[in-house]
Amino acid sequence: MTTSGVVPPGRGSTLGGAPLRLTGPAVVALAFLGVPVVAVVLRAPWASLGERLTSSTAQEALRLSLTTTLLSTLLCLVFGVPLAWVLARADFRGRSAVRALVVLPLVLPPVVGGVALLLAFGRNGVLGRWLDAAFGVTVPFTPAAVVLAQTFVALPFLVISVEGALRASDERYDEAAATLGASRWLTFRRVTLPLAWPGIVSGAVLCWARALGEFGATITFAGSLPGTTRTLPPAIYVALQSEPDTAIALSLLLIVVSVTVLALLRERWLSGLSA
């Protein structure tokens, strides 16, 4: 706890109670965040909830969301952990530029990500044209496009989380392993990775949650076909036009999933913030 020294002991008695000018807006902010979630719970079609969540529309979207998000989380781990290691441990010029590129999808509107993916991997895209000509592979409108869209938006969550964990763990353990004769790869597997494990797990969970919520890039790059590319968020969007109760039921499901993710992360997340 680096901040503990700054906080004066017995601050409550010294500074007095919380002023209304601060608590007022704070309550408004809290209500603003809470009321919409409560509204979903209140309006949820409780009587027909089971039936709506087991309808073929919901099941198809659910199954597709689960498989694609697991694949994209796996891709994020396989490529993101090495990228995080490079950012945390390797010394090279232009690291801040690389980090900016990694963080970009966090601030980029997802639909822009979808357009960019289309221009890169689309049938007429920079890489897609070549993929089509060489292998006859077209990516858009396939579950693979869904996975790519999710990976694009979720990768920063994993990289940032793992890079933070790597920086927080003591590099001297790596050095000790090296002086004992371990190769860099062996050191990475047996020392660096286990030390950063909590950060990798929380990064993977956050990354999965972001992939699960992905909408803009998916509908732009992968389209929206039931059972093939229509994951939960586009399914909710379409259902709102024709069967609003199904849309509310699926929204409730995603809220429950998100709350569960937060609960799972809670300890790790809080300790991660104060570290």
């Binding site: 010294t14 289309l118 689309g122 077209t138 409108f141 389209g223 929206s224 076909l225 379409v238 036009q241």
Partner: protein, 269 residues
């Protein structure tokens, strides 16, 4: 003891000053925003906004009408939200502040009627049929609807009027029903996928194919398979500008308006 008192006095003093200093710019920005939005919304009688919710297939025609209308109504700013008819009418039912709504079928208009939000009965003002649009030069050689079975094509989701129409057309084919690669939220995104060359074909309105000009080639759908969609327009109950809304609807139904719809490829109502 005296130290803590002095500290307390100091901190009290700064506590009283700082929030106001922080608040001033925020209040200033908020007032500026409020003033700006008032200017657009109500303000004086000749400085008003007309909000029109219109089916995506009306994008070109309504945008053209917008300039004509604004020239005739100085001080009125027409704002049009284009999208799938079903999305737009759901938004109105959920309280979106539209003055006028124009849909590509009567089913979606019924959503506004069910919400008791129609100021008057909807009026049919145009009709439309479907066509197959392909990228320029028709690279996949789509000659007829049945060719769709062997190429990549997209259409609207059946929750949108253009999707309902496309679905009915495909179900009338004698061959196995061709399967689309994607069901897009509205007709503009179907057209975008075609003009980008990401698919070999898309089922769109005849008027969309015509408006896209050289960006697409058109394959006609024979009349016995085709579907005719009727377009409806209505004023929304409780709209902020009912008189301006009425003027917009008369312009759409006027001779000049109807000539424009015909020129764009729409059929008579």
């Amino acid at each position: 003891m005296s130290t803590s008192q002095r500290l307390r006095r100091q901190s009290t003093g700064s506590r009283q000053r700082t929030p106001y200093r922080l608040l001033l710019p925020i209040v200033g920005v908020a007032m500026g925003l409020a003033a700006a939005s008032c200017g657009g919304d109500e303000g004086t009688a000749d400085n008003r906004r007309l909000t029109v919710f219109a089916a995506a297939s009306l994008t070109e025609t309504f945008t053209e009408l917008e300039s004509a209308f604004e020239a005739d109504h100085p001080g009125v700013d027409v704002v049009i939200s284009f999208g799938s008819s079903s999305t737009l009418t759901q938004q109105i039912a959920a309280g979106a502040p539209a003055d006028v709504v124009a849909t590509a079928d009567d089913t979606s208009m019924q959503v506004v009627a069910d919400a008791q939000l129609l100021a008057a009965d909807p009026v049919p003002f145009a009709s439309n049929t479907m066509a197959v649009a392909t990228p320029p030069g028709n690279p996949a050689d789509v000659d007829s609807l049945s060719d769709l079975g062997s190429v990549d094509f997209v259409m609207c989701d059946p929750s949108a009027p253009c999707g309902t129409a496309a679905q009915r057309i495909l179900s009338r084919l004698a061959t196995t029903e061709p399967k689309p690669r994607s069901l897009e939220p509205d007709v503009n995104s179907v057209l975008a996928k075609v003009t980008l060359g990401e698919v070999d074909a898309g089922i769109v309105y005849v008027t969309d194919a015509r408006a896209a000009g050289d960006d697409v080639d058109t394959v006609a759908i024979p009349a016995e398979l085709n579907v005719v969609n009727a377009y409806y327009i209505a004023a929304v109950k409780g709209a902020p500008s009912p008189d301006v809304a009425a003027d917009w609807i008369s312009l759409v139904n006027s001779q000049a308006g109807q000539r424009m719809f015909q020129a764009a490829g729409f059929g008579p109502p």
